[in-house]
């Protein structure tokens, strides 16, 4: 009789919570008053996804990305996306080495565990697409040669809302590759006041020491992969995603990849909650960040200023949680 998985918690979960809490504490020492944003960022990290932080300038997008990067002892590259940035500036180039008389590959900034893409929508679509292969397949192909990327590999991109000047909206394909899109929102007055105090003296980012190693993160990812998702919860994820595809106010629903991302993120989210199983509540809390940025509203919905976030929130209310087996 196998009692192993039945009686106790999944192994590694305790360690995960401990490490995750360290990272969370580290980030929160920099980004005050945004626990949910921090938690979502960690969720994406543990679900091997990529994070898109979208908000108006100056609310701490880059701060969050950098804090996340710094709190983990791993290779971090930051790319400032500008309109003149070229694809090779990201992936790397083959340069002719005169001494050795051959082309050698100069890895671009994507060759890191954490890539912070700042203001990603300021680059041309061509450059944005250069990230496509890296993000999904975790590899880079230059001049017919494929280079694998390190693990963990996470792209944390920030972007200004598309209405802002000088932006190129991210193509749907690219948006679909981000596990979640979060927005920072303005801090509440108390947090803002504290921020004034803290940031007045020196940047807390400078004091931030790494609290976890890349290997730790890899181990955590493994734990998260083993998280239990009950069939009814999986069904619920499918129901939610399917509902977006059939919604009259959406021109484009969520892809199957979205379902995958949703369940993966839910695993990580549950693990951060120190739980070894996913419950529908996780899916509900993740639905908007994971699904909304992939959806395209119809013209009518746009006219009525119905944003995909609203639609997803409404679906979360309406799609019934699968009844338990009885």
């Amino acid at each position: 009789m196998s009692v192993d998985t039945h009686g106790g918690r999944a192994p590694g979960l305790d360690g995960l919570a401990e490490v995750a809490n360290r990272i969370r504490g580290a980030i929160e020492s920099v980004v005050e008053g945004k626990p949910q944003a921090v938690r979502l960022a960690l969720t994406v990290l543990l679900s091997e996804g990529h994070l898109l932080i979208e908000d108006v300038p100056g609310v701490g997008k880059t701060m969050l990305a950098k804090a996340l990067a710094r709190s983990i002892d791993c290779s971090v590259r930051r790319v400032q996306f500008t309109p003149d940035l070229l694809p090779s500036d990201i992936t790397g180039v083959s340069a002719y080495n005169q001494e050795r008389r051959e082309f050698e590959f100069k890895p671009g900034p994507v060759f890191a565990n954490l890539v912070v893409g700042d203001e990603i929508n300021r680059a041309s679509p061509k450059t944005q697409s250069a990230l496509l292969e890296c993000m999904e397949e975790r590899q880079v192909t230059v001049d017919g040669v494929t280079y694998a990327l390190e693990r963990p590999f996470m792209v944390v991109a920030t972007q200004n809302p598309v209405e802002m000047e000088g932006t190129y909206p991210l193509p749907e394909a690219q948006r679909d590759r981000f596990t979640a899109r979060i927005s920072m929102g303005y801090p509440d007055p108390a947090a803002e006041l504290e921020m004034l105090d803290v940031h007045g003296q020196s940047s807390p980012l400078d004091r931030l020491e790494p609290v976890a190693k890349a290997a730790d993160v890899r181990a955590l990812v493994e734990v998260v992969r083993r998280q239990h998702v009950a069939p009814s919860v999986r069904q619920y994820a499918i129901d939610l995603v399917t509902a977006t595809r059939n919604h009259p106010e959406l021109r484009l629903g969520a892809s199957p990849r979205a379902t995958l991302h949703l369940v993966r993120a839910a695993r990580a989210y549950a693990a951060l909650d120190d739980r070894d199983y996913v419950r529908p509540d996780d899916l509900q809390e993740l639905a908007v960040p994971v699904l909304a940025h992939r959806l395209l509203p119809t013209a009518e919905a746009q006219v009525e200023r119905r944003r995909p976030e609203h639609v997803v929130a409404e679906l979360v209310h309406r799609v019934p949680v699968p009844a338990p087996r009885s």
Binding site: G7, N246, D276, Y277, P280, V319, V321
Partner: protein, 832 residues
């Protein structure tokens, strides 16, 4: 709505039909209803307050009644004046008197018509006020019910089921019209797509081609199904409940309509032995008669059917023409011919202590009966009975035409009319061959039917070796009779009478079993007293020309030798065969010992003793059981009503019990098993406990009227309830534990950490918190009529109706066409 209310009142008034002779009352009622409807409509047109609407209806009713009954005294023929009101009052008094004088159905004298008009009109006013003006259609059923209850209360025999169904459907139509108008107030019907079923495809696909659910239509049709099912159940249920049917609400047995009903009483044979044994000396009745020293038996019942086991009388159809009219001569009894007949007048006074005697003991054959109350006569059997009155304490006078046949008369009457022969010689094929053989043996050598009968009687009383024994068990089955005839030969009048009647039938002589009383004992000049022990059964045989004549196979005699006061008629003596007619057809008893003269015991004409010894005769309990039918019916009915009322409560309690007790079985003890994610059923008892607790919680929440959203996850539900009810910390923790256990049971692979006992205690605590936080009404409803149990019932009903609907859809092309049209209409609607 006005129209529906009027229709409902009219439909309800149909139930009044058994109260009246003739059908004129209906038109009076119709006029009243119309008048009230017009008055009510006018009142509403003028936007009068509710009370004045009723006044308007009443005024219209008054005008109508004035026109109908007092137009000569009225101003301009319709305006009420003091004179016309006086006239109405006078008529009302007449009607009231008629109601008190006559038993239902009453003749339609003007006073009665006025009462009908006014009564139905008043009901119509109340219904109109409730249903139309106050928009309370459901309470409007109460006055309708009151109207229905009048005939139900007045008449012990019942109201036809058809009338009930018409009334019920009228009320349902009223409800439906009301609901329709209420819905109509919200505008036209809009079909919203059911999002969970299908959501139009995003993008440029256009309207989803998938059919939408016809929400409103299916609701309506299921409503209709439920309504019809309710009426059908109400009509049919009483027939299947033992004890209610015989004197139940509807006379389903015989003719349902047309004022003819069926009268059924407890099996008279059953009470016979009890009367003989238990009540011995109790005086049943006394009578004065001019029949001389030897009056005839007093007969109550004539049992004309033998089903192989028992004798019973065929159901009596009673109508107005069967009613005894005081002083009116009945038609001559069947079969009377040239035989001498003397008229005997008997004045009977029935003891007050007699209960439930609804058949009058009268000497055969009653020709004129003067008795108060509603008494009927059955033409064929000449039984006098009442569907509602009891003879208890009553005095009545009977003039009987007593036939005085001679043996020769009877010997001549051998040809029987075919109808009589068919009806009264029928015996089941199951009669054992031994009995047939025995019958032929006993009557061997007889030349006529009369001789056969006399030989049978002689065999029973003298040569057959029978012994009178009151302690013999009452015959219940055909075998008992066989046993009595062939082996046991012990019995009392019932066995003798039943056997002789059967044997006569076997021989082709029309026969039936009569029941009633022997003449009893003389208590004064021409005065006789009949006691319980004089209860008796005897066969009546039919001879053309003489009609039904009595035979006496039961041994008579005091001291237990036989039925003490039984006498055998002279024409039935053996001597009669030898052409020796009795002086007046009957042997005379000795005056000093009026009880005696039966052939077997005539020599021992001893003083009246206790001929049917009392004592601990077996089988005493069983007759009571049958006799208690009406009481049993009431009890059964009450129990049924209570059971129906308690059903949800019981169902809820059972569900609770089942949930928890399902956790206890041995399967729980066997250590944890690995849960199979895809499979059904719970390997883990803790998991089962969590589910049970959660279902209990859900049921409790629903019972207490708290909102339960199916879309909630356990955690959300717990949180919402906790915030909604502002639960204290402890209860909130309990609630949280239940939710967490359910959540883990549902979604986790880990074992639920909370034990079943804890969960059970938690559920109890939460239930108490629920009860404490809702109002008293909700609390009692949760206890008495828990909605969760009701929902389960309605779910079952829904699935049933869906199954029925599915069948209807498959079968009915009409249904399909309706749906197709509906679909077309809906898609046009959507395009708009």
């Amino acid at each position: 709505m006005t129209v529906m209310a009027a229709l409902a009142v009219l439909a309800g008034s149909v139930g009044l039909y058994p109260l009246f002779t003739g059908k004129g009352w209906f038109w009076v009622a119709l006029g009243s209803v119309l008048a009230v409807a017009v008055g009510g409509t006018l009142g509403r047109r003028l936007r009068l307050p509710a009370a004045f609407t009723a006044v308007a209806g009443a005024a219209a009713l008054l005008v109508y009644l004035t026109v109908l009954f007092a137009s000569s005294q009225a101003l301009l023929g319709f305006l009420p004046t003091p004179g016309s009101l006086g006239r109405l009052d006078e008529l009302f008094g007449q009607g009231w008197k008629a109601v008190n004088d006559y038993a239902a159905p009453v003749p339609l004298v003007p006073g009665i018509r006025l009462l009908v008009g006014a009564g139905v009109g008043l009901v119509a006013i109340v219904v109109d006020l409730l249903a139309v003006r106050l928009r309370r259609a459901a309470p409007a059923g109460l006055p309708l019910l009151a109207m229905y209850s009048v005939p139900a209360a007045v008449r012990q025999d019942s109201i036809g089921w058809a009338a009930f169904a018409v009334g019920a459907l009228g009320f349902l139509a009223l409800l439906m019209a009301d609901a329709r108008e209420q819905v109509g107030g919200w505008g036209r019907v809009v079909f919203t797509p059911r999002w969970s079923q299908e959501v139009p495809v995003a993008g440029a696909v256009g309207p989803a081609p998938a059919p939408e659910r016809p929400d409103a239509r299916s609701l309506m049709s299921s409503g209709r199904r439920i309504a019809f099912a309710a009426v059908a159940v109400a009509v049919l249920l009483p027939t299947v409940i033992p004890g209610v049917h015989p004197r139940g609400l509807f006379g389903l047995g015989g003719g349902g309509g047309g004022g003819t009903q069926t009268v059924t009483t407890p099996d008279p044979l059953v009470s016979l032995q009890r009367e003989l044994t238990e009540r011995g000396d109790a005086v049943v009745l006394t009578y004065r008669t001019d029949a001389g020293p030897r009056p005839d038996y007093l007969r109550m019942y004539a049992l004309d059917q033998f089903n192989g086991n028992r004798w019973s009388f065929s159901s009596l159809s009673t109508g107005d023409r069967d009613r005894l009219q005081p002083g009116v001569e009945l038609t001559p009894a069947p079969g009377l011919g040239p035989v001498r007949v003397r008229r005997v007048t008997t004045e009977v006074r029935v003891s007050r202590r007699v209960r439930e005697m609804d058949f009058l003991p009268v000497p055969y054959a009653p020709a004129r009966v003067s008795v108060k109350g509603d008494w009927r006569v059955d033409d064929a059997s000449r039984m006098i009975y009442s569907p509602r009155d009891s003879a208890s304490g009553r005095s009545y006078t009977v003039v009987s035409a007593q036939t005085m046949p001679t043996a020769r008369d009877l010997a001549a009457g051998t040809a029987f009319p075919s109808e009589i022969a068919r009806r009264y010689t029928a015996h089941p094929r199951t009669v054992p061959p031994e009995v047939m053989r025995l019958t032929r043996e006993v009557t061997k050598g007889a030349r006529t039917a009369h001789e056969q009968a006399v030989m049978l009687q002689r065999w029973f009383t003298r040569t057959g070796g029978f012994r009178y024994d009151l302690s013999a068990p009452a015959p219940r089955r055909g075998d008992d009779l066989v046993n009595f005839l062939l082996h046991d030969k012990r019995g009392y009048c019932e066995q003798f009478a039943a056997s002789m009647a059967l044997m006569a039938r076997i021989l082709g002589i029309p026969a039936r079993v009569a029941m009633g009383y022997t003449p009893g004992t003389q208590s004064g000049p021409n005065e006789w007293t009949v006691r319980s022990r004089d209860a008796h059964a005897w066969p009546e045989l039919y001879f053309e020309g003489a009609g039904w004549v009595r035979f006496e196979p039961t041994p008579s005699g005091p001291g237990g030798a036989g039925q003490g006061t039984a006498t055998s008629p002279s024409y039935s003596e053996t001597a009669a065969i030898a052409e020796q007619p009795g002086e007046d057809g009957r042997t005379e008893p000795t005056p000093s010992a009026p009880s005696s003269t039966a052939p077997g015991a005539s020599e021992s004409a001893a003083p009246q003793g206790r001929p049917d010894p009392l004592g601990d005769q077996g089988d005493r309990g069983s007759p009571q059981e049958d006799d208690g039918t009406p009481v049993a019916g009431w009890i059964a009915g009450t129990v049924l009503v209570l059971a129906l009322l308690a059903a949800p409560m019981v169902a809820r309690a059972l569900a609770r019990r089942r949930r928890w007790s399902a956790l206890r079985p041995e399967a729980a003890g066997d250590g944890p098993g690995v849960r199979d994610d895809g499979g059904a059923g719970f390997a883990d008892p803790a998991e089962a406990a969590a589910h049970a607790a959660w279902r209990e919680l859900r049921a409790d929440a629903v019972d207490h009227g708290l909102e339960w959203r199916p879309g909630d996850t356990p955690r959300q539900a717990a949180q919402r309830l906790s915030e909604l009810l502002e639960l204290d910390a402890e209860t909130a923790r309990s609630l949280g534990r239940i939710a967490r256990a359910e959540e883990m049971a549902r979604y986790s692979r880990s074992r639920v950490p909370t034990s079943a006992e804890v969960l059970r205690a938690d559920v109890r605590a939460v239930r108490e918190a629920f009860a404490a936080s809702v109002g008293r009404t909700a609390r009692w409803r949760a206890r008495l009529l828990p909605p969760s149990a009701m929902a389960a019932t309605s779910q079952a009903a829904q699935s049933l109706s869906r199954a029925v609907g599915g069948r209807v859809r498959r079968d009915g092309g009409l249904w399909g066409r309706v749906r197709a049209r509906l679909g077309g209409w809906r898609s046009r609607n959507r395009d708009r």
